[in-house]
């Protein structure tokens, strides 16, 4: 038996709302499968499972906010006995007494926790009163409040195959060069309505609105809607908080398609709602305040001559198809990932007074979100990727960070972060370490500057490399050696 729990997707996360189950009791799951979607301060995240087995019970129904570490589902080695119910009473005790009582353990969370997995109407509306917004007149509460699990599981689609991409967009990114042209109507342009159209179909759970103000819909629903050219706004969600499930889209195609095809589909607007922006700001504030409170940072900076690297890049790009073309940012990423092999004191996590170095380099890549906020998902095992593979991963990560579909493991995983200021930024960044990591490397915007080479004044392209590291774990001397090692690697780009 294994327990599938609400993951912590960062030092700043206390709780999450279960938005959709992608599996039901009896389904076989494998490590790495995406089994659920959870709404967090960082938006809707696809949650993967870390065990193999069969789903025995779904413990927490959709629509419920539960603290980190709460048991969401139970797995077994064999399919569950026929008639095994979901939501048994014994499983209703999430192991969450330690669940991050950091300031924000609102009563709502506690209620949910105690009442889980079958919250009463009153409790679940309490859970999200703060989020409640005026919507169309609610319908009477459905019976599923009494027995939420069967409903939840009945709506659950078959589990995706392990390698199934999470979105059409990702599919395009992942298959890269060989990717068939995406259809015009495909990924990101599912037309959607303004947020006030998010209609809560039930009185019980208050409507959640996404951080970006789109109608609440599962990734599968968005995918299906996009594939079929259906306007999500025309579909009435039967999921929790009025969210649109994949099944809703499947059920309602004909009726919903007509109006959209007749008119020009409204473009999808994705600017973050004020509330979503505030939630993300709060998450960033919590993590950064903790960092500055707990981590004794030291800072180093080093100017690197990127002329050779960028000349090489230009030449190599000329011979590459557009889908394999490299951006300057990927060269320092590769150099950093490689150099870390010799600096275990910079790559790992510091928790409970103890440092744990990480053998693989899971490189967090800081991505500014359009409309504000920041997220730093991991490039998994970055040291094992060559420049081309690294570039594909970075492009994919940026696209998904900006339009949805990040996975839980990508947010849990980083062992160090790189923040790259891009081609229109400024000279240098003095980073704040993302706990529990112990280092952050900054790459400034490359600029043309006078520079002395072999006693001659020349014009070179320079960038300022910075390191902020945890003095509990390493010293400035080692940090300096690390930056020097990155510099050295960048001088021989063809060997990167």
């Amino acid at each position: 038996m294994a327990e599938f729990r609400m993951p912590s997707l960062g030092a700043d996360m206390d709780a999450g709302v279960l938005v959709e189950w992608l599996v039901k009791p009896g389904d076989k799951v494998s490590r790495g499968d995406i089994v659920a979607v959870v709404e967090t301060q960082k938006g809707a995240i696809d949650v993967e499972i870390f065990d193999d087995g069969f789903v025995q019970e779904i413990v927490v129904p959709v629509g419920v906010e539960v603290p980190v570490d709460t048991i969401l589902a139970i797995l077994g080695d064999t399919p569950p006995a026929a008639g095994a119910s979901t939501v048994p009473a014994k499983a209703a005790t999430p192991a969450s007494s330690e669940a991050k009582a950091v300031g924000s353990s609102q009563p709502a969370q506690r209620d949910t926790h105690e009442a889980a997995p079958a919250p009463s109407t009153a409790e679940s509306s309490q859970t999200s009163t703060a989020e409640a917004s005026a919507g169309p007149a609610p319908e009477p509460p459905p019976h599923e409040v009494e027995a939420p699990a069967p409903e939840a599981t009945a709506a659950a689609p078959a589990p995706p195959p392990a390698a199934a991409p999470t979105s059409p967009k990702e599919q395009v990114m992942a298959s890269d060069a060989s990717a068939a042209p995406t259809e015009q109507g495909a990924p990101g342009d599912a037309p959607t309505a303004p947020k006030e159209r998010v209609a809560p179909p039930t009185a019980a759970p208050a409507p959640l609105s996404r951080s970006d103000g789109l109608p609440l819909a599962s990734p599968r629903a968005r995918r299906l809607a996009a594939d079929r050219g259906i306007d999500l706004a025309t579909i009435r969600g039967t999921g929790p908080h009025g969210s649109i499930t994949g099944d809703d889209v499947e059920r309602a195609p004909a009726a919903a398609t007509t109006p959209t095809t007749a008119t020009t589909p409204k473009p999808r607007r994705r600017r973050m709602s004020e509330k979503g922006a505030a939630a993300m700001r709060e998450a960033i504030a919590a993590a950064m305040a903790r960092s500055k409170r707990e981590i004794p940072h030291y800072y180093l900076s080093h100017t690197v001559d990127l002329t050779a690297a960028l000349d090489w890049l230009k030449a190599t790009n000329r011979a590459r198809p557009v889908s394999e073309r490299l951006l300057p940012a990927v060269l320092p990423l590769r150099a950093i990932a490689r150099a870390l092999a010799d600096f275990p004191e910079l790559n790992g996590t510091y928790e409970d007074g103890r440092y744990r170095p990480s053998a693989p380099v899971h490189l967090g890549f800081a991505i500014a979100l359009r409309g504000g906020g920041l997220i730093a998902p991991a490039i998994k095992d970055a040291a094992g990727l060559d420049l081309t593979a690294l570039m594909v991963r970075v492009r994919d990560l940026v696209a998904r960070a900006r339009s949805g579909g990040l996975r839980s493991s990508e947010l849990q995983m980083p062992t160090i972060t790189v923040t790259s200021l891009g081609d229109r930024g400024v000279d240098a960044v003095t980073g704040v370490i993302y706990p529990p990591q112990v280092a952050i490397v900054g790459v400034g915007t490359p600029v043309l500057r006078p520079w002395v080479v072999d006693g001659e004044l020349t014009i070179r392209t320079l960038a300022v490399l910075t390191l902020a590291a945890d003095h509990r774990v390493s010293d400035g001397h080692r940090g300096a050696l690390f930056l020097a090692a990155v510099d050295r690697l960048l001088q021989e780009p063809e060997a990167l």
Partner: protein, 85 residues
């Protein structure tokens, strides 16, 4: 795709742009606006944009041509010129 007129090309260009930057409102999009400077399209977004144009129009877009694709109008002109007559 060879016979697409400017309007059809423009629509695909704008749709592609909105995929990359979903907060852009096509209705407010001036044809001559600079994508990178005015719409805050960074180098990663721009590369993703170029890759999709490459896929959708089946044209090669060398790096040195990027400046010609800095506006929606520029993209349309470029794509029309690149497509077989």
């Amino acid at each position: 795709m060879s016979t697409q007129d400017a309007t059809a090309i423009e629509k695909v260009v704008i749709d592609t742009l909105v995929e990359i930057a979903p907060d852009i409102d096509p209705a407010e999009l001036e044809p001559g606006v600079d994508l990178r400077q005015d719409l805050d399209i960074d180098s990663m977004d721009f590369l993703n944009f170029i890759i999709r144009l490459h896929e959708r129009f089946a044209i090669e877009i060398p790096e040195e041509d990027y400046p010609r694709l800095s506006t929606v109008d520029g993209c349309v002109d470029y794509i029309r010129a690149k497509q077989p007559a």
